[in-house]
């Protein structure tokens, strides 16, 4: 089964206007499997949600994290149960903080890398210079409230350029929830898991394997069948998802992008047409960013 994750959410413990209880209720109402609490520079909401979940045992899991909100960019950690200080944040050596977080068993992601920072909001753009992605689990390629072309498109392109160069870094999306925003037709993160399984452990495994989907509600999956790759559509029943009349699969490699009609629900692509590394994406109709529905895990042949 596929599990839906909402990995970037705030509460009144930092600058949002929803309480921990309200965040939990919003996630439950929208059928989320696992959500993270990632308040700015504080872990104070974690024990509040832990207490509610322990007492009421609702059918949802929580990842206890924080968003490092630094002067040079935001590092969203959907899991960070032990606070790791960031006093010595170094714009030219952010690897030190990523490494310290990973030693504390965190999950680490670069949040909204191309958001506007100064003079709009200092620190929102990721201005740190990462040269070693070893301890970066993912890039938040879509931050839902941000403008599609100005902010999210360069984020998607940056991630694609990294993985096409061979970097092992996964892609995720975030609501960056600060209030009661609708999650319909917004991108969420999906990963494979088992009914009743530990969603955080499954997320860790998915990130390590680069097996995360960023999607509005329809996934594209792939199998190898002899000399052919078979891609399928998979409706994950995300509330508010509006199906498209037609679907197009694209495979982007280092040199080009090839499009395939997948409206029927599946398409067979000879392996000879796929480069050693390719990024599958799904569009509803014409191939343009406004129609993007899903970014699927990178194919490595």
């Amino acid at each position: 089964m596929f599990k839906r994750y909402e990995l970037h959410n705030h509460t009144v413990e930092s600058d949002a206007n929803i309480t921990c209880r309200e965040l939990l209720d919003i996630m439950l109402a929208d059928g989320v499997d696992c959500f993270a609490i990632t308040d700015h520079n504080t872990t104070s909401g974690q024990p509040i949600i832990k207490k509610i979940l322990a007492e009421e045992k609702p059918p949802i899991q929580c990842a206890y994290g924080m968003e490092y909100t630094t002067y040079f960019g935001h590092i969203v950690c959907p899991v960070l149960e032990t606070y790791v200080p960031w006093d010595s944040i170094n714009r030219k050596k952010p690897e030190l903080l990523f490494e310290a977080c990973k030693k504390a068993n965190a999950i680490t992601g670069v949040a909204h890398p191309f958001s506007y920072g100064d003079p709009f909001a200092r620190g929102c753009r990721f201005e740190m210079e990462i040269t070693d992605f070893t301890n970066v689990d993912y890039i938040e390629i879509v931050n839902n409230p941000e403008p599609l072309h100005e902010v999210n498109e360069p984020g998607i392109l940056w991630w694609e350029s990294l993985v096409l160069k061979g970097e092992k870094v996964a892609a995720c999306a975030g609501m960056d929830l600060h209030g009661r925003d609708s999650m319909a037709m917004k991108f969420a993160t999906y990963a494979e898991g088992k009914e009743g399984g530990d969603a955080v452990a499954e997320l860790r495994a998915a990130l390590a394997a680069g097996r995360t989907w960023v999607s509005k509600g329809m996934l594209v999956t792939g199998d190898i069948d002899g000399e052919v790759a078979v891609f399928h559509l998979c409706d994950v029943k995300k509330p508010g998802f509006i199906p498209s009349d037609t679907y197009t699969l694209t495979l982007r490699d280092k040199d080009s992008t090839t499009a395939y009609d997948i409206t029927s629900g599946s398409v067979r692509v000879p392996l000879t047409e796929i480069d050693d590394i390719a990024v599958p994406k799904l569009y509803g109709g014409e191939v343009k960013l406004e129609n993007l529905i899903c970014v699927a895990p990178v194919i490595r042949l």
Binding site: S14, T42, S44, Y71, P85, D118, F120, R122, G123
Partner: protein, 156 residues
Amino acid sequence: MKEVYRVEGIVNRGFVGQITYMVNLEEPFSKLDIHFVFDASKRKFSPDEATPELIADTVAVCKKNYDLDIDENRARGIILGDMKTEIHTLATLNDEFLGCIHRQMTDRHMFFDGVNGTATEGCIPRERFEGVLKVTVLAFNVIKDGTRYELTVSGE
């Protein structure tokens, strides 16, 4: 509550970084209040401060940082609407995280009530306060010279 220490400071326009104050809480407290305030009049620009020079600077910064072409009206809107002095506070006790207030406020308390087990949003409740307290002033953005702030720590 008993005042443990009070400090005042001034930060200049463009300062980005942090200032940490450390004090030994030699007697145990069951309540702690960390009060931080900075000059509210320095937080935003007023319409008459949106000078042609500042507007030109803003247009140039948007072009340089984001390749964003904005006209003077948009720049004026950014100056009056978005640009702000943003200073937050974070505290640790014996190197354990106590909390952080990351909200757009010029006057804030980090209040811990160890008797009732409560704390201000952003802070983690605890019963006892003794040892090395570090309070860090996090200056994300300072838009005007001479921005004064005051930090007071009190215990009970």
